[in-house]
Structure formats: C-alpha cells, structure tokens
C-alpha cells in the first residue's frame, strides 16, 4: 500500500519549528502550534480555535511529553494544505495535568502527513528516541529523528 509522501522538510518546514518556546497555559501552547501552521499558510486563522475546541473535548496528549493538537472534522475546510508545526517547551507546559515538552500542530487536508505521524509514533514508542526528541535543540536533530527509517 503506497501512501502519498511529501518531503519531511516541506511538511514540517523550518518556519514551523520553534525549539525554544514557553507558554503559561495549554491554550497558549496550542496557539503557538497554530502560529507555526499559519506561518506557512497551511490554515485559516479560525482553525486555531478549532484546535482548542478539539482539545477541550478530547485530549491529544500522546504520552512521552508530546501532544499533537489539531482541529475538528468540522474545521477541515479551514485547512489549505497538509502541514505540521513543532513547538518545544524546555520548561514544560501543564497540559491538563500532563507535562508537555513538545506540541506538534497538525493540519491535514489529504494523507501527506501520515508517514510523518507514523514515524512520530515509532519515535514515541522508543523511550530513548522520545527523550532525544524532547532534548532536540537544532532542526537537524529533529529532522534526523523524524526522517522515516522505513522504505515505503
């Protein structure tokens, strides 16, 4: 089964990565993740509110200090292209009681992001790689971890 693949550096653009951010609240953290998607024109601004709505109904906390905020199905029209953003909070953010160090904002119109999310799941299932991701201080380190190591 072949899935449409978009190059990692296009899907998660440097302009959408902030490795040294701080946020006083979960919603502020989500807005920063949304800003990373706005920076590359992947979404309309209204999508950011949908990201917060979604988080209020069902958490996107994944474990290993990572959350993947994204909008609701109803907000899919405000997505213009597949894109991810990455915001790292070295001091952590209280995410409904969970300590979040990295938020991946997700905007998905098609399936271009699936390979990247799949690789992210693989990283998070490996405690050492997950720790390396939380500690990443350069975009090169981020890309090296998220570059798919599978032939697809």
């Amino acid at each position: 089964m072949s899935e449409e693949t978009t190059p990692l550096t296009e899907l998660l653009a440097e302009a959408s990565i902030d490795l040294d951010a701080s946020a006083a609240s979960r919603d502020e953290a989500i807005r920063l993740a949304g800003a990373g998607l706005l920076a590359v024109g992947a979404i309309d601004e209204s999508y950011v509110d949908a990201m917060i709505d979604r988080e209020n109904s069902v958490s996107t906390f994944m474990g290993e200090g990572v959350a993947i905020p994204h909008g609701t199905l109803a907000a899919k029209d405000s997505v213009k292209s597949d894109a991810l953003s990455l915001v790292r909070f070295p001091a952590g953010v209280d995410w409904d009681g969970n300590d979040v160090r990295i938020a991946f904002g997700i905007a998905a119109k098609g399936n271009g992001h699936i390979a990247l999310l799949s690789q992210l799941a693989t990283v998070l299932m490996d405690p050492e790689k997950a720790a390396a991701l939380r500690a990443a201080e350069t975009t090169e380190q981020v890309y090296a971890l998220l570059e798919s190591d599978e032939d697809e």
């Binding site: 994944m62 609701t72 199905l73 999310l117 799949s118 693989t122």
Partner: protein, 102 residues
C-alpha cells in the same frame, strides 16, 4: 459488554474525531503489530466508521459516538494512545485467535 473472536477479525478501525492525527498514529502502530495477521487496519473519523469493520478502537470519550454509528460492531475504548492495555489485549486476541470480552 461485547465479545470479540480474534480469529474472525479481518478489519480493525481506529477512530477519532477528525481522523487527522490521533487515530493515524495509533493505526500506524497497530498496522505494524498486526502486519503478520493479515488484518486490515484503517483510521477513520468516528462519524464515518465503515460498516464492514469487525472491531473499532477509539478514545474513551468517543466510544459512545462510535457505538451510535456502528451499533453492531464491538467498540474498544482506550485511555492511552501509546501502550494502552485494552488495545494490547485486542492485538493479542487477534494474533492468538483468542476470544475476549470487551
């Protein structure tokens, strides 16, 4: 409660609200874990879970909506995206061909 016969499962659906993020990540893990079993693993928004699913796994908060969409399909709610025991139990039942209660 519903009964799942692991040996009869052909299609497992991971459902979330938008089918955009959370379900994609879990589905990718389950695809790997179930690669040898020949079971089809797909992700889907809760609202459009396909009727030919044999079992649905979804976040606990969405389980009732999932049951409303496919009343005849067993729905397995989970709390954790990574390493949830309820999901692990379903995977094991499929791989071993066991029957479990969910």
């Amino acid at each position: 409660m519903a009964t799942i016969d692991g040996s009869s499962i052909k299609k497992l659906i991971v459902a979330c609200d938008a089918g955009m993020g959370s379900s994609v990540m879990l589905a990718s893990q389950l695809k790997k874990q179930l690669a040898k079993s020949g079971v089809t693993v797909e992700h889907s928004p809760v609202a459009t879970i396909p009727g030919d699913a044999d079992v649905v796994v979804t976040q606990a908060g969405l389980a009732d909506r999932a049951r409303g969409v496919v009343p005849d399909v067993p729905v397995v709610p989970f709390q954790l995206f990574l390493g949830d025991p309820a999901v692990a139990k379903v995977v094991k039942a499929i791989l071993d061909g066991d029957t479990i209660e969910v």
